[in-house]
Amino acid sequence: MRGFTLWVTGPSCQNNSILSRAIEEELLERGMKVELLNIDAVQSCLLGDSDDPLVSINEGMKSVGFIAHLLTRNDVVAICSYPSPRSSSRDEMRKLIGRFVEVYCECALDNLKKQGISMEEWNAYEKPDKPEVICDLEKEGHEECAHKILKTLEILGFIPPSDDDEAYSEDEEDKIRQRLQDLGYI
């Protein structure tokens, strides 16, 4: 299987991290080689040393992007969990890496405030224009978001379909049978 980079972005580091870990776990269970590059894991060695936190974050992002690029071309799945506030920087990563899937993790302002994120930080964040997946952990829950991401990866051909991904489950088959009966088709 060829490598790719899953870039999880959004204003909430906490939410990005939760979602990235859920995907990491699922891909590892499917027997894939996966590296999670999240802000906690890399901040000690990769972030820049500028006094301006935004500059520091963006410099660090370039380093993370470069490592993701190396991992991807060596057929490892790189999951990058970053606030990555600048849209243009993420687009640069997409160009550099090629096999790149962007997940935008939404977060309501109220929840951001609860997580201690300021209006200034919120305003500095630029939403992606065309992410492959949009998730909202609060509304959809971890499982639903992870399912959506995995399905997208399957459809895009980055990962093979799950073994248990039958077209119809037993429950669905019962519902289809019922609907066909309701219409007099069977």
């Binding site: 949009i134 119809y168 669905e172 289809i176 609907r179 219409l183 007099g184 088709y185 069977i186």
Partner: protein
Amino acid sequence: MALFGRKKKNKVLVIGLDGVPVWLLQHLMDVGVMPKFKTLCEEGILQSMKASLPEISAVSWADFMTGTQSGEHGIYGFTDFKDRSYEITFPNFTDLKARTLWDRLGDMGKRSVVVNQPSTYPARPIPGCLISGFVAINIKKAVHPLPLLRKVMDFGYSIDITTMACRRDHDLCLSELTETLKRRKMVVDWLWMDQDWDLLEVVVTGTDRLQHFVWSCIEDSKHPLHPRAMEYYAAIDSLIEEWVDRFLGDPGGDLSRVFLLSDHGFCGIEQEVRLNTWLMQEGLLSFLTDEPQELSQMDPKSVAFFLDPGRLYLNRKRRFEQGWIEDEDAESILVEIIDKLTSLKYNGNHVIRYTFKDQEIYKGPHLNQAPDLVLLSHKGYDLKGTVKERELFGRSDLEGMHTWDEAFFWSMRPKENDLRISSLSDFIVDALA
């Protein structure tokens, strides 16, 4: 995002009205319920068209989208047999063996937006985007690509009405049909502007539901729900007007690239005809239990059996694990059954209009899955494959049934006289070539 900088390019608009017969359209135009359609018919050509065999949406829409027939695409009905078994399976979009017109357009670099297309569940990637129609039951598996799902759900989109509740409560049926149509329009309008497309196709399936459940309110102008039913068709006409006018205002929109169709016709039910009951009465089918619920409970010594609506299978040795009829004996058995079926009468009237042997209507790599015989009834006799009924003739609360050669097709140019739904995909692809 696609609002600005749109280049002029040829586009196609396809609108499907599930189950609407050509004569009903003509009638609705004559009584002033569908004025836009009347205008279209003054400019273009309304033709009758033959649906698939059997005349059901699962097969007819598969014929439409692939430009082939069951022997090529492998879909023979809403149900089929599991391999070498008497057990039933429900074929789905992944079982479709032929390429769709959207795939063909994709080869030409064209993108399609397809909304509520029956027989495309679960949704799979097409060049463009797809929202599956009937028998889709879970919206999360009915949308491709998945990033569209959230927005579709935000519109309160529902694939279908609540079928059993609406079958029982016709007021509710009309309310749900109206609401479903409104939400469907919202999603189509959004995709129209949001997506960069070459073909936009939408199917209205509420017509089929209304006609199954309350056919009488369409035919009988004194029926208490008649005015609401007419309002529903008028709402569809307004919707056609809005979409066609918008299409003509789009760069690349031209009336010669607008197509409207139905997938089969419709009529009222006089009697349901339980064909497996007939086989039981003729001594050709028996069960291992007194109150059979499904075909898998059949005595393997049985000669033949039906799947809905009128697909007859001989119990062939080469086809079924416990089958016993050798191929060389099949023809004489089939001739005998055809002879008896064509004599079947209700109140002195013949029930069966045509019988088609498999090779008369199907060809291709999946011919070996075909039923040995497909029946078409005279109007009013609704063929059923149930094994639960003991009476050959009877009625349920369903009021309408499908017909074969009364589907419609509208376009600007007349097509061949003996028009079949499987011919349409070539016209559409050609319009974008």
